[in-house]
Structures are given as C-alpha cells and as structure tokens.
C-alpha cells in the first residue's frame, strides 16, 4: 500500500471575521490548499464543523461547500465529533485514500462562531456534552473544565498560577504565526492578574472562540508529480477512540483514556516510540486539557503535566515542543476546524517552513484533536519524507 501523503495545505487567519461568511471562509481555505497541491482535483470532500446548524442555521455543509467550491458531482459529507471534528475528518479522508477507493481527498474544517453572540454561543457549545445529564444541569464546557482543574489542583497540590506555562508558551509561539488570532507574547504578571472566568480557569486558561477555515489535500504518494514543489508529509499513523461522553461516567476523571488509546495506536502504526516525536499539537481548549493530554500520551507522568509547561518543557527548545504555532490558545479556537489547523501547522513544520518557530530536524509530529474532555480523541502521526 502506498503512503497517504499531504499534498496541499491552506488556512485563513483565525479571528472574529464579522464580514466573512461560513461558505466564504471555507472557500478561501480550499482555494489555498488546492493551489498548494498543484491543482489536484479531489473525488471526495470531508467537511469538519461543530456548530453551523446551531449558529448559522446551516446543516448539510458537504453539499453546500462542494457546490460553492465548484466541486458538484464529487462525494461530500460533514464529519462531526465536537472539537475533534477536524481530526475525525482527516481520519475519514485518510481511510478513503488508504482503502484505494479515492485518489484525492479534500478536507476542509470551518467554523463561524460570530454568526451568533452571547449566551446562545455558550448554549451551542454545551450541545457537545451530555445534553440530558450534563448540559441540562447548567454545565458548560468551561464549567466542566474548571471542575476538572479544581480537582487536579487539589490532588496534585498545584500552586496558584501553576498552569501559566501553557498560555505563556502558546502566546510566545503565536507571535510568529501570521494566521494566529493573538500574535503577542504575554508576561507572567498578565496571567497572574487575569480575571477569573470560571474559577480556577482564568481568561488565559481558555482558548478564545473564533472564526477560521483550514484545508488539506490528501492523496497517495504515487499520484504526486515527480517535480512536486513541497517535501511530502506522510500520515504515518491514524487512530481514534471514544470514551464516556459524560465526565461523571469516567473511571478516573483525571486520566484521558481515549488520548492514550488513540495516540498509542497511531504511534504503533507509525512504528515509532514516544521519544521519536519531535513536537506535539494538543487540543488546548483549556490549559487543564493540555496538561492531561501530555500525561495521557506519556510525555509527563500523572499529575506532572502542569510542571512540564511550568519548567519550559513544552517550549520550542524544550523536551517536547507543543503548540508550536500557538495552539488553540493563541491561534484561536476555530471549533471543528481546529484539527485541520493542527494538520496544516504540523505539515508546515515537517516541510521545514515554520520560520522562527521551526523545530530543527523535525521528522515526526503528533497531532491530537479532542472533543469534550477526551470523549473523542483522534490522533495522527505525521512524518516528513525527505
């Protein structure tokens, strides 16, 4: 079986795009990826999106975006797994190519938060939890994460401001990502003085909701032209795992089982061990999630994920560079598009095109897309082929 490779990548800047519609955001990213791939025409379109039916009164995005992008006639569907939609769509496209049934697949992740404002956005986000047993009690994803963080800080005696390292690293890296929403490094004092949103989560522990679209063109390596303009990036491992949806049904709420399962399978498929991972793009919707992902995947032992960030272990020069282009925190949380942004950024690293944020000699990147508190986790190992 020939390698499944990323032939083209594209992204819009992440931000509050009041004047750009859902379909135009998607088209912008698609056109960029199409051009980057040298004009490869897809037979299948996989759209990843979390909340359009709710926020934009728009479901059926597969047909809408295929039509808007001039791709009527090809197959097109939406893949939804809350915050993991991007990773999940990437996986579906990977399976399509790996099966041999599709030659070229296009993935576009798109989210348009700014079609609504205020409490209706929180209500929409709450649909990603257990509606009957969590959301109905008034639990929002932010409140849920704050309960987790409070328990974690209690169990592991984490000092106040113990999680600052995640925001500091994200913003420092975001400063060199022209597509990121926040492009300025922040000082420790800024984190320390930040207003509480849902104690103990402060404003800098939470990724901001934002609009954006990212796209990837996947194909088989043998279909790339000989003079292909970029170093090919292979999807060396792909795996997904689901855990209980409701946090209260977990065996251990402080362990992201699905993150460990999916990352483990993906690395096994790629034939690598943890030490060979050169960088990690986690789903830092909340700083506590980043800590728990680092622990579940194995980069830190249980209860020490926060310390890895505090000690600089996740910085560009650290043991396991993470959020290398800003992560969700500085790039912005573009909902169901996040997992595709991760793939675009990882491919940029592996092509050696990450500029000031380049991880020297990067060969393997682990990207992990999450829905809820690891209720769905999709992990991919990307490999630079040089």
């Amino acid at each position: 079986m020939t390698d499944v490779v990323i032939a083209g990548i594209g992204q819009t800047p992440v931000g509050e795009h009041w004047e750009i519609s859902l379909r135009d955001l998607a088209l912008d990213a698609i056109q960029a990826a199409h051009k980057d791939s040298g004009g490869l025409k897809p037979q299948a379109l996989f759209v990843s999106n979390m909340l359009a039916p709710n926020l934009s009164n728009q479901a059926h995005l597969g047909a809408l975006i295929a039509d808007y992008a001039g791709l009527t006639g090809i197959e097109a569907i939406t893949v939804e797994a809350a915050g993991a939609s991007g990773g999940a769509a990437l996986r579906q496209a990977y399976l399509a190519i790996a099966s041999g049934m599709v030659d070229v697949a296009l993935i576009v992740g798109v989210e348009k938060f700014t079609d609504k404002v205020g409490p209706s956005v929180d209500a929409a986000l709450s649909t990603t939890s257990d509606s009957d047993f969590e959301a109905v009690q008034g639990m929002t994803p932010t409140a849920q994460a704050s309960l987790l963080m409070k328990r974690y800080m209690h169990e592991y005696q984490v000092p106040a401001d113990g999680f600052a390292g995640f925001a500091l690293t994200a913003h420092a890296n975001g400063a060199n990502n022209p597509h990121a929403m926040f492009r300025k490094a922040i000082k420790p004092e800024t984190y320390a003085k930040a207003e509480m949103v849902s104690e103990p989560l402060n404003m800098f522990d939470i990724a901001p909701n934002a609009d954006g679209a990212a796209a990837v063109v996947l194909t088989r390596r043998d279909l790339l032209p000989k003079d292909f303009s970029h170093p090919p990036v292979k999807i060396a491992g792909s795996a997904s795992a689901a855990d209980t949806l409701a946090l209260h049904d977990r065996k251990d709420i402080l362990y992201f089982d699905a993150a460990q399962l999916s990352a483990g399978k993906a690395m096994k498929q790629a034939g690598i061990i943890l030490d060979q991972v050169n960088f990690f793009e986690y789903h830092d919707m909340f700083s506590i999630y980043a800590a728990l992902q680092l622990e579940a995947v194995g980069f830190a032992i249980k209860g020490k994920g926060w310390k890895l960030a505090a000690d600089g272990g996740i910085g560009l020069k650290g043991r396991i560079p993470s959020a290398t282009m800003g992560g969700l925190k500085a790039r912005g949380f573009a909902g169901g598009a996040s997992g595709v942004y991760q793939a675009v950024e990882a491919a940029t690293q592996l092509r050696g095109q990450a500029g000031a944020n380049q991880i020297a000699g990067a060969k393997y990147g682990l990207i992990q897309s999450m829905g809820g508190p690891a209720s769905t986790v999709v992990s991919h190992v990307l490999q630079g082929l040089n």
């Binding site: 509050e16 009041w18 004047e19 700014t114 404002v117 205020g118 207003e195």
Partner: protein, 356 residues
C-alpha cells in the same frame, strides 16, 4: 490644505455656536452598587458612577434646562430661533415631539421649525448638522440643536452599569456672532446592526463584541480620518478632541489610534462620573470642553450612533467665548451637584418596578 471635498458638509454661509448649555441630573448610582446586586460585587467596573434622572425628570425637562442655559450664553431673542430640534433615544412620546415643548418653554413658538431626531447616540449631533444647514443656507438666523437622553439599561446587562442621563443644547448662528466656529462637518454611515430596540420593547439589545471593532471603532475612525484629510489636519492641529463615550476604554483607545493624547480628550471625557449619556454624550463632552477652552483652540468632535454612523465636526473657538462661559451653569458644576442613591432607589426612579 484641501479647500473642498464633495463629501465634506460645509454650509454656504459660515456658521458657529452662538450659545451652549449642559444639563446633568443630580442623582448618582455607583457602578459598584450595580455589581453588588448582580454579581455579588465581583468583576471589573467600566466606570465609577452614572447620573440618574429624578422622578419628575425626563428628556423634555432636561432639554428645557439645557436650552435655557444656551439662551443665557447666546443672549438672543428666542423668537429669532427658526428651528428647535431635539435628538434622543428616550423621547417621552413615540408620537408628540419633545421639541415643541422645549420651543414653547423658551418662547421660540410659533414661527419655528420643530422636530425630534433619532439615530441612537448620534441623534443630537444630527440635529446639530441640520442646524448648520438651516443657518448656513440663510433659511434662518438661529437654530437650536439639543442632544439629551435618559437611557435605560436592561437590568443585569453589561450596559446597565453605564446607561446614564444628560446632554447639551447648542444655538447655531452666523460665524461672526459665534463663540466657536464650526468649520466643517462630515458624516459616515453604514447599515451595521450593533445595538437596537424594536417598537414596544422596553430595553435595547446589542451584539456584544460586534459593537466594538465593526461598529464604534470603524465609524469613528472613518469619520475622523475623512474629516481631517479633507480639512488638511492631523491630530496635532487640535487642542481638544471629544469622542462618543459609552465607557472609558473605548474613547481612550480610539483617541490613541487616531493620534490624540490623553490630555487632549481629558476635559470632554465625562463618562466615568456621569455614565454614557447616549445622544447627549458627544454634545456634553463639547460643553465641558467649551467651558475651559481658550480663544483659538481647535476642537474635533466625533459622535457615534449605533445602527450605525458617526458625525465629525471641526471647530475653532473665538475670542467671544471668554465673556459667555460664565453666563450659565458650567458642566462640571452640574457634575459636582451629586446625591448618591442605591440600586433600590434607582429601580424606583427609573420605573423598573412592575406596578401592575
């Protein structure tokens, strides 16, 4: 220096401000009182306190007092006013103009134009632009334009901290009689639904973050930039600047973006102690600035009204200001006249208690 531009609003005959007057009700509701009731005292406060009208006050009574102050400074015969126009978001009647009561109260009736103006927070400056036109075209010797509001904030909403009451009245007349000449005006308008109230709704609604960059900042910046470019000026050419003030941060930020210093906007920045006076905001920022201005001072005023639009004015103070400022109550004197009330009293005064 540019001489003319088709989009600049310049009348045929030069016009200016012959008299002006402010009004602020005496009651003050501290922002920390609002926080005490709604957030248990937690969270940041956008201003210190806001002005609240008393039980027998409304836009009509407040406009009359401001109009009388303007008449004291102008020293004109009220029958020479050819228009009395009041801009507000809180006219007491939906149909029955505030303006006719004000015109009657100051003795301007019956040979006068009267009408109520509406465009959210720029209703007052709209009336001012129209007054420039009436006088500048020779249709009338004097015209009065008032911006006044008793804005209501929805209980528990972010805007409740700042929705205040107050405003200013201006008598526009020939430039050679004016204490400040209005060199030119410019209006920038788009269909931007950042803040609205449907008929029969008691409280307005707003688009939260949408009220920032795409609304307030965009329109003020465009209006100010256009006016200054067409007038051949930059921020340094002005002694003072007044921007619409829904809270303290917005005008400070837009001033900085346009190149104005904190000192330039200081005398006109009143929101911290009286709240956002909506259609009265830019108007009363200007009265406070005129109260301390010296002959020759150049002033930029830029209002913002949701929906959305901005009116910008380029004004030069004349030597007639010195003699006229002291003829009526100054803005800071109204601000210093202060009786603190608590949230319960405010709720009663503002008619928020369901009595049926």
């Amino acid at each position: 220096m540019s001489t003319s531009s088709p989009t600049l609003l310049k009348p045929v005959k030069p016009v200016g401000i012959v008299g002006y007057g402010a009004y602020v009700p005496r009651y003050r509701l501290p922002a920390k009182e609002v926080a005490r009731v709604w957030t248990g005292g937690k969270g940041g406060l956008p201003i210190k306190e806001k002005a609240v009208p008393g039980l027998d006050e409304d836009v009509i009574t407040m406009s009359i007092e401001a109009a009388r102050n303007a008449m004291k400074r102008a020293q004109i015969d009220p029958t020479e006013l050819r228009a009395v126009w009041v801009g507000s978001e809180s006219h007491p009647y939906a149909v029955k103009p505030t303006s006719t009561l004000v015109a009657e109260a100051i003795g301007a009736v019956p040979n006068t134009q009267a009408a109520d103006w509406e465009f959210a927070c720029k209703a007052g400056t709209e009336a001012l632009v129209a007054a420039m036109g009436l006088v500048g075209s020779g249709m009338g010797h004097y015209a009065m334009a008032i911006g006044m509001d008793t804005a209501q904030g929805k209980p528990g909403d972010a805007l409740e901290y700042t929705a205040g009451a107050g405003g200013g009245a201006y008598i526009v007349g020939p430039a050679d009689e004016s204490l400040a000449i209005i060199n030119a005006s410019y209006s920038y308008v788009t269909d931007t639904p950042d803040f609205w109230r449907r008929e029969y709704q008691k409280y307005p609604e707003h688009g939260m973050r949408f009220t920032g960059e795409p609304a307030y900042f965009k329109h003020i910046t465009e209006a100010a930039t256009h006016l200054m470019e067409a007038s051949g000026t930059t921020a340094k050419d002005y002694k003072w600047a007044i921007f619409h003030q829904p809270n303290t941060k917005f005008p400070q930020r837009v001033a900085g973006q346009l190149g104005f210093s904190a000192e330039q906007i200081a005398p006109g920045l009143l929101v911290h102690t009286i709240g956002n006076t909506y259609a009265g905001a830019a108007m009363i920022g200007l009265t406070a600035t005129l109260d301390i201005a010296q002959p020759g001072d150049r002033i930029l005023v830029v209002s913002f009204g949701s929906g959305a639009g901005s009116d910008a004015f380029d004004i030069t103070v004349t030597d007639k200001v010195t003699a006229r400022v002291g003829l009526a109550t100054k803005t800071q004197e109204y601000i210093a006249r202060r009786t603190e009330i608590d949230y319960a009293t405010y709720v009663r005064y503002r008619g928020k208690l369901a009595m049926k």
